[in-house]
């Protein structure tokens, strides 16, 4: 029990992001309808972005603006990279939703299996 208790005390916020990542993966594995698959992959993407943001995290680090001494600054590099990653995530989700609307209006269903059957005829 002691090892388990030690293990849990070690868990930090970034492990929470890893949990969210695999919940998204679980969602992508089990969801029947297309819109929920898009949502769960969106969750995976957001979890990966949160995990990246938490790197080089120290307690009490201040925002990287002039005036704070360089050692106390929070790491600006992940923040800048994640602005790019978030915008990419937004564009891809927008593309998926556009395709989702097209699929629903054309085949009349949002379920993966019914869609595959309707594709054949």
């Amino acid at each position: 029990m002691e090892a388990l208790e030690y293990f849990f005390r070690q868990l930090s916020i970034s492990d929470l992001a890893v949990v969210l990542f695999f919940i998204g993966l679980y969602g992508a594995m089990t969801q029947r309808s297309i819109i929920k698959t898009i949502m769960s992959i969106g969750i995976m993407d957001v979890a990966a972005i949160t995990f990246f943001m938490m790197s080089n995290f120290e307690q009490g680090a201040r925002s990287p603006v002039t005036g704070t001494p360089p050692e106390q600054m929070a790491d600006p590099v992940p923040q800048a990279l994640m602005i790019t990653a978030i915008v990419i995530g937004v564009s891809v989700v927008a593309m998926c939703l556009a395709m989702y609307m097209r699929v629903v209006f054309r085949y009349g269903t949002a379920d993966w299996n019914i869609l595959i059957r309707r594709l054949e005829d």
Binding site: F21, L25, M44, P78, A85, V92, V103
Partner: protein
């Protein structure tokens, strides 16, 4: 370094710049400006290749910032030939379809953006930059394969984008672990820092996350179900399928090579990728035999050839490595030619299935000859470039189980292309209207056919010209190789006549079997577990 016609970042952004600027020109002028622009880009790529091939490799820090901070663009022995191949391929595909109907401004803009995304992948030396450029190429392809509005099957594009979206989420997670571990984003600096790691097991997790994403991009065994429908989609114009199968899959393979060099001080998974390459190749040609639609035969066959390339690259011997790289160039040539000619055949015949198209030789002699050159090239007929690269890969194997595997793959390739080439012979249907004489199509297809043929004749000189090391390919033209090819060809025709035509029921079952999306995600996670376990254990 200074005598470069165009600095590296300019070369990457030039195609998009041309596309964006010519958007405001009137319709008549923009076609000529596009042609001039792509010729200029090809000239810059040729000049870059010459300086890298005979000079030293070029490393350029964007905007002159110091080594740690700036994004580094690297043009070395592996990436410069691929940049040249991409530039020549895009220009010839662009010339090939000057008369085609769908060449409006948005299509050409997306086409040039795909070209600059490919340049970005080949030249980039920064981990996060590779992710951003892979994302750009993914979205551009999703639109290009759906470009013909009327015959739109949205399911293929949806499957393509969602699978690659999962792969990209894995990639961001891998880069996050990488940044936490090494604190730097540059590939070369990461390589040095990985060597200093006290315990190499720390790099197992980022390794398997990044390589799952790269495996989806390079269409490895369980994860290739997006590729045939994306490349062979009915709504994809033929030059898009040609470019995708010719160059885009190679970007995935190139990333596999580049990132395995970065991770080489810590993890060596060559045996795993050798086995996976072999299995991918076998699965590829088995599925290719089952298809009816000629574009799907070619698309499934791309998977088998990519598996062969991955096998060649991961054999560990230098001959096989440069054989694999030469096969990347050969495959771009003959698969691109086959897709271009297939597009023209489908337009004139109006039918896509192998059974109904007959007599391409009589109705379109030039397209028939070019397609025949492509088929001979891909099956590795002697005096054609396929045989040279396969000969080099075979030299690298020498006697372990993979040599028998190579014969099986060759036999599968011949079998699937015996099925494909039935469209060439026989007599064309009466009502077939004469295809309009298009000089561009004939010029480009004959040029590709000549390149395939000359690549075979001067094989070893071509390898030493493009990559450097000089290997003698005399054996490839030897009597022994010709007899083996003739025997396999005869066996292939026999097996096709009596075997494949018999088991039509099995084939149609294989053809209509589709994974639904949940099973594909389970396959991706299982691939991730396989990679994680394998690299953890072999770390030892």
């Amino acid at each position: 370094m200074e005598n470069l016609l165009v600095p590296l970042h300019m070369l990457v952004l030039l195609p998009v710049g041309i596309g964006a600027l010519t958007f405001f020109l009137p319709r008549k002028a923009y076609q000529a400006v596009m042609l001039l622009g792509s010729l200029f880009v090809t000239a810059a790529a040729v000049q870059l290749f010459i300086t890298v091939r005979w000079g030293s490799e070029i490393i350029q820090f964007v905007a002159g910032w110091p080594e740690v901070v700036a994004i580094k663009l690297v043009a070395d022995g592996i990436s410069a030939p691929l940049v040249l191949l991409a530039a020549v391929f895009f220009t010839s595909a662009y010339i090939f379809s000057t008369r085609a109907g769908h060449m409006d401004k948005t299509f050409v803009f997306l086409f040039l953006m795909l070209e600059s995304a490919l340049f970005g992948i080949f030249l980039s030396g920064d981990l996060f930059n590779i992710y951003v450029v892979m994302e750009l190429s993914m979205i551009t392809i999703a639109i290009l394969i759906m470009y013909k509005q009327e015959k739109q099957s949205v399911y293929d594009a949806m499957l393509y984008i969602l699978m690659n979206f999962i792969a990209m989420a894995f990639m961001v997670m891998g880069i996050a672990y990488m940044y936490r571990l090494t604190g730097v984003l540059d590939l070369m600096v990461i390589e040095q820092r990985l060597a200093e790691l006290p315990d190499p097991r720390a790099a197992v997790l980022p390794y398997s996350m990044i390589f799952t994403a790269v495996a989806v991009k390079a269409a490895m065994l369980p994860l290739f179900s997006w590729l045939p429908r994306a490349h062979g989609a009915p709504s994809a114009p033929s030059i898009v399928s040609a470019v995708l199968s010719g160059i885009q899959v190679k970007a995935g393979v190139y990333l596999l090579v580049r990132l395995s060099i970065v991770f080489s001080p810590v993890i060596d998974a060559q045996m795993l990728f050798l086995v996976l390459g072999f299995l991918t190749s076998v699965a590829g040609f088995l599925l290719a035999i089952a298809q009816k639609d000629i574009k799907l035969i070619l698309a499934y066959h791309t998977i088998s050839q990519v598996g062969l390339i991955i096998m060649g690259l991961n054999l560990g011997s230098d001959v096989a490595f440069w054989g694999g790289m030469y096969h990347i160039i050969n495959h771009a040539l003959f698969k691109g030619l086959l897709f271009l000619t297939a597009g023209v055949i489908i337009d004139t015949y109006g039918v896509r299935s192998v059974k109904e198209i007959r007599g391409v030789f009589r109705s379109m002699p030039v397209i028939g000859i070019a397609a025949l050159a492509g088929v001979l090239g891909i099956t590795g007929a002697p005096f054609f470039n396929g045989s040279i690269s396969k000969y080099f890969i075979q030299e690298g194997i020498q006697g372990n189980w993979a040599e028998a595997g190579l014969y099986l793959i060759n036999f599968g390739t011949i079998l699937s292309f015996v099925k494909y080439s039935t469209i060439l012979f026989g007599s064309p249907p009466r009502h077939l209207q004469k295809p309009r004489k298009d000089p561009f199509i004939t010029v480009i297809s004959l040029a590709f056919g000549a390149a395939i043929f000359s690549g075979g004749i001067f094989g070893s000189q071509a390898v030493s010209l493009v990559f450097g090391p000089q290997y003698s390919a005399a054996g490839a033209m030897g009597i022994e190789k010709i007899s083996i090819f003739a025997a396999t060809l005869a066996l292939g025709v026999l097996v096709y006549r009596y075997g494949v035509l018999r088991i039509e029921g099995v084939l149609s079952g294989v053809r209509n079997f589709k994974y639904n999306f949940n099973q594909i995600t389970v396959l991706i996670s299982l691939f991730f577990v396989l990679l994680l376990g394998y690299s953890y254990i072999t770390m030892g």
